[in-house]
């Protein structure tokens, strides 16, 4: 973890290096520290902290492993390593054609064929982290602003702002309408930016939403796109959880919206995708930008030189994702398992007297603990969070780190652990809630 050391005689580093915009001082990461120091283990450390702050998908690894068992020769250069040399030399920023083709197909399958993707519009980056930053460099100048609906992924503070010098102006959403984005909220955010003398260059939405765990409705997507067109700004749709919707019919991609509008206003739309969540491969650093704007594609491709995907990994995934039978089965099975996990955690929380936002996607649920707050403030939320972290020993993410305007909401991840561990976590929550009931009765 970073500790800033004061060195009076050292030569000053850049403003970017000195700033705190990397965001690591947020409570979001402090929880991880607690986990690192005392991690739960089913056998060796049953009283440790359970990590529920990490949106990872570990429920479908067996499917990947099975594929590799049956196809390892193809995916790992095979016996005699044919193709190794060609692969190791391949640093073309266009990316392996077979891989782009496979990604395009995969993205189409996830959307049930309701959208088509042209492999030549796919730009590869080392993870969605890089993709979001890269798009920001292309769409906005330092000092400009992007509008982002709250609550949002804490990492955006770094990815969109740190090295780019671009600002985030929140589009405030609240529980009164299940945190949906409204035209009024969009306009209010835009006005807010104007009043601060900030030039708005685009809107960035995450669909399905992190941390809400829900998809954005068709009508809302149309409203957002109309708004972007009206203001002549860009629309970035981060769809990295698109393969993690529990039911295929419930996710509508901006690509589909465009198709239905005959691609009117398409040149301002850009989609970010990644395999970190849907395939559970965050270590492989596979991100993509899909843009309907030729200049953006060309520029993004050039810029991807700073963040290409290892050709070894492109090769492996090109093989895997070209296998239609595998991908069909994976998408379907992954959805079912996530759905099952989701049901499990919702039921468990309900039994403990806790309500969550109705979700239909993602690797987490958006839990409402506002009834438990000492005071309905950020401070109150952080106090409660501290208790949950240090007494209940669960690392969950406080809504304030996601810039939620209403205190008391928490993001709880459920896919990065075994079912058994999830049960233990739910037991602890249940016990905690029981204890609080007893306490309040006795007061």
């Amino acid at each position: 973890m970073a500790i800033e050391i004061e060195k009076p005689s050292s030569v000053r580093l850049s403003k970017v290096a000195i700033s705190k915009t990397h965001g690591e001082d947020s409570p979001y990461f402090a929880g991880w520290k607690a986990y690192d120091e005392n991690p739960y283990d089913e056998i060796h450390n049953q009283s440790g902290v359970i990590q529920m702050g990490l949106a990872e998908n570990q429920v479908s690894f067996d499917l990947l492993e099975k594929y590799l068992e049956e196809h390892h020769e193809v995916s790992s250069w095979g016996k005699g390593a044919p193709g190794f040399r060609e692969n190791a030399l391949f640093q073309d920023y266009h990316g392996l054609k077979s891989f782009r083709q496979a990604m395009a197909n995969f993205m189409e399958q996830i959307r049930g064929g309701k959208a088509k993707f042209d492999p030549d519009r796919i730009v590869l980056t080392a993870g969605a982290t890089a993709a979001n930053e890269l798009l920001t460099f292309i769409l906005a100048d330092p000092g400009d602003a992007l509008l982002v609906p709250t609550p949002y992924y804490p990492g955006f503070d770094r990815d969109l702002r740190w090295r780019t010098g671009v600002k985030i102006v929140p589009i405030h959403c609240n529980s009164s309408n299940n945190f949906q984005i409204t035209p009024e909220a969009l306009e209010a955010a835009y006005q807010s930016a104007e009043s601060m003398d900030l030039k708005v260059r685009g809107i960035l939405i995450t669909n399905p939403s992190n941390p809400l765990g829900s998809t954005i409705q068709s009508s809302v997507l149309n409203d957002i796109l109309d708004f972007a067109a009206h203001k002549n700004i860009h629309l970035v749709s981060d769809e990295i959880y698109s393969g993690s919707t529990f039911s295929p019919s419930e996710f509508v991609s901006i690509a589909e919206i465009l198709r239905n509008r005959n691609y009117k206003d398409a040149e301002r739309v850009h989609i970010v995708y990644s395999l970190s969540k849907d395939l559970g491969l965050p270590g492989f650093r596979v991100g993509t930008i899909y843009s309907y704007n030729d200049d953006v594609v060309t520029t993004a491709r050039r810029m991807s030189s700073f963040t290409l995907i290892s050709s070894q990994t492109q090769h492996l995934l090109a093989c895997m994702l070209s296998n239609h039978e595998f991908t069909q089965n994976y998408i379907k099975t992954n959805r079912e398992r996530l759905n099952k996990r989701y049901d499990m955690i919702i039921q468990g929380l309900k039994k403990a007297g806790i309500e969550c936002l109705k979700g239909n996607a993602g690797l987490f649920c958006w839990m409402n603990l506002s009834p438990l707050l000492n005071e309905p403030t950020r401070q109150g939320e952080l106090e409660l969070w501290n208790i949950i972290l240090n007494q209940v020993k669960l690392n969950i993410s406080p809504g304030s780190s996601c810039h939620c305007s209403e205190p008391g909401w928490f993001r709880v991840c459920f896919a990065n652990m075994s079912e058994q561990t999830l049960r233990v976590a739910l037991q602890r929550i249940h016990k905690f809630m029981e204890q609080r009931k007893v306490c309040s009765v006795n007061q």
């Binding site: 800033e4 190791a88 391949f90 906005a140």
Partner: protein, 493 residues
């Protein structure tokens, strides 16, 4: 698209400026190669690619190691049990085994005179990403770095494009073999100060691209003391360290620091496996800083360009194999030396001199005697002749910001032995023809003028393919792509 002009206004300044560098003539040669690539059987009259600094000479050794170590891959039966843990590992510290293996490798490459600390190994998206990250950490938009010329053409993009930082070249001269002198550094620094340019540091490449030479201890010490005096940073790009094939040996700035009074917080190294091991596709860039704050900052920034954990795992295994590494480094030197020797002899035979080099994957060739006049324009004319008539894609000195016209970088490692012979034959023929022409100058001056005029036409080809402007646009070509038709790239089927 009619949208285009309106579109471009919708994009950022970074997106619409030219600092990506692809409109440089440096890439015209690639376009010529791409539309007419040499193949020993299918296209023996095509353009030979000599503009790509790749090192494929020892792939057989690596392939053998991979065959013998199936557990280094997480996809094989032997390695599959590691798949899950590696696939979810996205910690920006990087796999401990990977960092240890890279640190050890860097140490060996430096002759084991320095021990590198695995905790200072920070990943980045290739050396491209590493150089950019270093600049982001050390300088603000509008600041500048001193860079001795001639220097790698890609620096224009890597150091400047998204960072907004400027390059101030420190011109080195052939009169002293392009050595970097303290006087030249001081002069460049003072001049910048007078123009209100804020110099934040110096970037050196050691061994040098394009010269193929190593920096001696004295020069390194001089650089370290210069930056210490001025309180500015020194970034040492050492990505060709293991391509040294004869003496004098490679000396890392890390070694020189050990017995010097200097400010360690100012010294940073960029490393990569793209040249030394020939793995440009794997995107293994390293930022190694002696400054804790820079290490921490660069590590956070590495989130934007981490090395794939699958690749980290493979390389951790490979580079920990001491016997393999020792054998690889020895063989690589031997093969580079041999290739270098064949070329040196070939060029000597026709009286072309090169800077005496003992490293790198290229020669710095002196073509000044062949220039009509000592100007960049004449150099460009000569270059077009070499591409169109001699059919070799070489890189003109001007694209490396060389202050003296007439120098060319020519890569020698990225081809097989047969192609080397063909390339040398063509050079021989061209030079001898040139000499012949000089002898008949008086008589044939008019005919020659005609020939020059023809040769000055843009990119004419002997093949029947028409020059299609839209095909040749920079949009299609990556500056670093080994074009699919290269004889080096094995067919997929």
């Amino acid at each position: 698209m009619e949208f285009t002009r309106k579109n471009r206004q919708l994009l950022s300044r970074i997106a619409t400026n030219d600092r990506h560098g692809e409109n440089s003539p440096y890439f015209d040669g690639w376009k010529a190669y791409d539309s007419n690539p040499f193949h020993p059987i299918h296209n023996p009259d095509g353009v030979i690619q000599m503009g790509l600094a790749e090192n494929p000479l020892c792939f057989d050794l690596i392939e053998k190691w991979i065959r013998e170590n199936p557990d280094a891959s997480i996809c094989t039966a032997e390695g599959l049990d590691k798949f899950k843990d590696i696939a979810i590992y996205q910690d920006y510290h990087g796999l401990r085994e990977f960092r240890e293996a890279v640190a050890k490798f860097m140490g060996r490459v430096g002759g084991n005179r320095v021990t590198f600390d695995p905790n200072r190994i920070v990943m980045s998206g290739g050396a491209t990403g590493a150089n950019e990250t270093a600049i982001f950490c050390l300088a603000d938009p509008g600041d500048a770095f001193l860079v001795p010329s001639p220097y790698y053409a890609g620096f224009a993009r890597d150091l400047r494009w998204r960072t907004g930082v400027e390059i101030v070249p420190v011109h080195c001269k052939s009169s002293n073999n392009f050595r970097i002198t303290r006087a030249a550094l001081e002069e460049a620094y003072e001049k910048a100060q007078r123009s209100n340019i804020n110099i934040k540091g110096v970037i050196i490449t050691n061994p040098s691209n394009p010269l193929g030479t190593v920096l001696d201890k004295e020069t390194l010490r001089s650089l370290v003391s210069f930056v210490t005096d001025k309180k500015i940073h020194l970034v040492s790009d050492e990505i060709y360290a293991a391509t040294v094939f004869s003496s004098p040996r490679f000396i890392s700035v890390a070694e020189v620091m050990q017995d010097m009074d200097c400010n360690r917080d100012l010294i940073h190294i960029v490393y990569s496996l793209s040249k030394d091991m020939g793995f440009p596709g794997f995107r293994v860039g390293i930022v190694y800083s002696f400054n804790d704050d820079v290490t921490n900052c660069a590590r956070k920034m590495s989130s934007f360009g981490l090395v794939s954990s699958q690749t980290q795992f493979l390389l951790a295994s490979m580079l920990s194999d001491d016997e393999f590494v020792g054998n690889f480094l020895r063989e690589s030197s031997k093969r580079l030396a041999k290739r270098h020797h064949v070329f040196t002899k070939g060029l000597e035979e026709v009286g072309i001199s090169t800077i005496k080099s003992n490293a790198g994957l290229f020669f710095w060739m002196d073509m000044r005697p062949l220039l009509k006049e000592q100007t960049t324009k004449a150099e460009t004319e000569l270059w077009r002749v070499i591409i169109n008539k001699v059919k070799l894609n070489v890189s003109p000195g001007s694209s490396f910001l060389c202050s003296e016209p007439g120098w060319f970088r020519i890569c020698f490692a990225n081809m097989d032995d047969k192609t080397v012979e063909v390339a040398l034959d063509r050079i021989r023929e061209f030079v001898l023809q040139g000499k012949e022409e000089n002898n008949h100058e008086a008589d044939k001056s008019q005919a020659r003028a005609q020939r020059w005029r023809k040769q000055n036409l843009r990119l004419s080809f002997s093949s029947s393919r028409l020059y299609d402007e839209s095909l040749m646009s920079p949009h299609m070509i990556s500056p670093h792509s080994p074009i699919p038709h290269s004889p080096l790239v094995r067919a997929r089927t």
